[in-house]
């Protein structure tokens, strides 16, 4: 039986409830991931091109290619390949790369964290600046801070990532020499890629915060706050902003999920040794196992982000009910 009850704000409800909720959500992930894995597996195999031929090389004979295909198990029916793949996966074996012959796990180890850091840095600055611009724009609606904020937001959204990246490299790496043009050594090499990656999100968050805050400022409880004699510097952050953040958090979470996969362009422009570039390389080589493993990982990350968003959401909005 499903029993629903009210959550009195997340952290007040006790750790047990929080854990129960998270565990329940993780169990819910299993069927989703199962379906996702099937989709990923079959769609990857729809990519045109023959990996066996790529592995064998241009000059390989037909027989050589056939042998390799057999070795790789690519001659088996696709269902059987899937079952084998999933079986290995459950034993913690992501498979080996067709291109390098290395275990995929080893290839991920060096690239996973740089990509995560890149995403996190981008998200953090985008959130801070986006919320700030959005708030100022709403508070000074139709005055110069609003115009300035919205102009920067529109430019942030309309500049293509690769272009912004190239401009930043040109100015700050080539001419000023402040930051390296690429790589992932030390914090300096994260600055320009994070700026590039976060620009679009920042703009989106700024615009969302602005419209959400403008809506909240019309609410009756804002008038109540002012009628109590509260200052604007209390009414806006304490009463208005917290209510406005509810939709903003949803958007931020979605964008964060997209960022995890969306760093492909930026990683390429900045020759950043992350998951995005690995994906591009694998796709051009038809490195099926690597593509699959990456997509699966992105999906898990995306679902995890969603879970975090839901938890945050219920913290911000005491009306949310959990079912347990």
């Amino acid at each position: 039986m499903l029993k629903s009850y009210r959550a009195k704000g997340f952290f007040r409800k006790g750790l047990l409830t929080v854990l129960q909720y998270i565990i329940k959500r993780i169990f819910e992930m299993i069927p989703i991931l199962f379906i996702v894995s099937i989709l990923i597996f079959f769609f990857t195999h729809l990519i045109p091109g023959d990996p066996a031929r790529l592995v064998a090389g241009k000059d390989a004979t037909f027989e050589e290619v056939a042998t390799i295909r057999e070795e790789l198990g690519l001659d088996k029916p696709i269902w059987e390949q899937y079952v084998t793949y999933m079986g290995n996966l459950f034993q913690g074996d992501l498979g080996t790369s067709l291109k390098t012959g290395l275990p995929i796990m080893d290839m991920f180890v060096d690239r996973f964290m740089p990509s995560i850091y890149l995403t996190l840095f981008s998200m953090v600055w985008a959130l801070v600046i986006g919320l700030l611009i959005g708030t100022l724009s709403a508070v000074f609606k139709n005055k110069w801070p609003d115009y300035l904020g919205m102009v920067s937001a529109v430019s942030g959204i309309s500049l293509p990532g690769f272009w912004l990246g190239l401009i930043l490299i040109q100015i700050f790496s080539v001419q000023l020499g402040w930051f390296p043009t690429g790589g992932a050594d030390g914090w300096k090499s994260y600055v320009l890629p994070s700026l590039t990656l976060g620009a679009g999100i920042m703009s989106m968050l700024a615009r969302f915060t602005r419209s959400s805050l403008l809506e909240t400022l019309k609410a009756d409880f804002i008038r109540t706050g002012r009628a109590k004699g509260l200052k604007e510097s209390i009414v806006i952050p304490k009463h208005a902003l917290r209510n406005s953040l509810i939709p903003v958090v949803t958007i931020a979470g979605l964008q964060f999920g997209f960022l995890l996969g969306g760093s492909v362009v930026v990683e390429t422009v900045f020759s950043f040794p992350g998951m995005g570039r690995l994906l591009i390389d694998s796709i051009s080589f038809r490195d099926y196992p690597v593509i699959q493993a990456e997509l699966l990982l992105f999906s898990i990350e995306f679902i995890m982000v969603n879970l975090v968003v839901d938890i945050l959401y219920s913290y911000l909005n005491p009306k949310i009910r959990y079912t347990a």
């Binding site: 109540t224 004699g229 509260l230 009463h239 009306k319």
Partner: protein, 330 residues
């Protein structure tokens, strides 16, 4: 009796698409110390704008006071007060309750947090004292398990409870004037009666003055000592509650009273006077009520009637009474 609040020739306007629309056209009335004054009139007659003008709560809207005086406590003209000075008055000397208890409380803040805000701000009590004060106020407005409710969120309470919280918040700093804008309209009938009872009882105990804004003449009869009737941004009649119901002067007031459902009669809407309240940007010439009036005369379409002082300290703006005793005030 001492006058606590005197509103004189109050004019308030809004700006829409660069056009100024006057909403209040010289509103005059006063409230005595410890009195409950009813402010009635159909929807759109400017009751809420009058109350917001007194508090100068126009932030985020295009509203502004054009001219007039709002004398509070004798000689303090609120119109000349700065925003900083007004903030010391809001919630402390003049408090407000609104119509919608569902939306007037912040949905993401605990009741306690919201209740403590004015207490901390205006009474300067330290944490523990402030909390005790808050709980005692909650008990005063008849909230059971007050300590627990402090930790709950608005959505966990019923509409009636929420309105009690709003009342608690409003009286928490012992205001001299409580403005209640349709405090019971959004509630169902039994709860309505409870809330009104509570307000009456608190008003008598605390010797507060109350400006009670309502559509409902039944509420007026129950609660108020004096009544101000508004129409199209003007006061059209002002009288003691008995006089008003006994012998309404203005045809508009007569219409309002006639449309109150009598016992055993089916409840109708208040606005059973023919026609509608005019749009503030398209007001007719002369008396604004003339097009809907049963006793209309030629002069009514030409000239706006002056405010006439009649016997028993009542006044009425209508050409019908031009010849009566008293004479012209304006």
């Amino acid at each position: 009796m001492e006058k606590l609040l005197q509103v004189e020739k109050l004019e308030t306007q809004f700006t829409k698409d660069k056009q100024k629309i006057k909403i209040l056209h010289g509103v005059n009335f006063h409230i005595h110390q410890g009195e409950v004054l009813g402010l009635v009139g159909e929807s759109g007659s400017g009751k809420s704008i009058t109350s917001l003008s007194i508090m100068k709560l126009f932030k985020g809207t295009s509203g502004e006071i054009n001219s007039g005086r709002i004398l509070f406590n004798g000689d303090e003209d609120l119109i000349n007060k700065s925003e900083t000075e007004m903030r010391k008055i809001r919630g402390k000397q003049i408090a407000m309750i609104f119509q919608e208890p569902m939306t007037s409380l912040n949905p993401v803040m605990k009741i306690g947090e919201q209740l403590l805000e004015p207490i901390r701000l205006h009474l300067g009590l330290e944490e523990k004292k402030a909390k005790e004060h808050a709980v005692s106020i909650l008990k005063k407005v008849g909230i059971p398990r007050a300590e627990e409710i402090m930790n709950e969120f608005p959505h966990q309470l019923s509409g009636g409870m929420r309105q009690r919280i709003m009342i608690a918040m409003a009286i928490s700093c012992n205001p001299q004037l409580l403005i209640a804008d349709e405090p019971s309209t959004a509630l169902d009938v039994t709860i309505q009666a409870q809330i009104l009872d509570l307000m009456k009882q608190l008003q008598q105990k605390e010797k507060m003055s109350v400006l009670l804004i309502t559509h409902d003449l039944g509420v007026v009869a129950e609660m108020c000592e004096r009544v101000v009737v508004m129409y199209a941004g003007r006061v059209v009649e002002e009288a003691d509650v008995f006089d008003l119901f006994e012998s309404p002067k203005h045809p508009y007031t007569k219409g309002l009273i006639a449309s109150v459902p009598k016992l055993g009669q089916k409840k109708e809407k208040l606005d059973s006077i023919k026609g509608n309240v005019p749009n503030p940007s398209e007001l007719p010439k002369g008396c604004k009520f003339a097009p809907r009036c049963n006793d209309v005369m030629p002069i009514c379409y030409e000239q706006e009637p002056p405010e006439l002082n009649l016997e028993n300290a009542r006044s009425c703006s209508c050409w019908l009474y031009k010849e009566e005793r008293g004479g012209i005030r304006v």
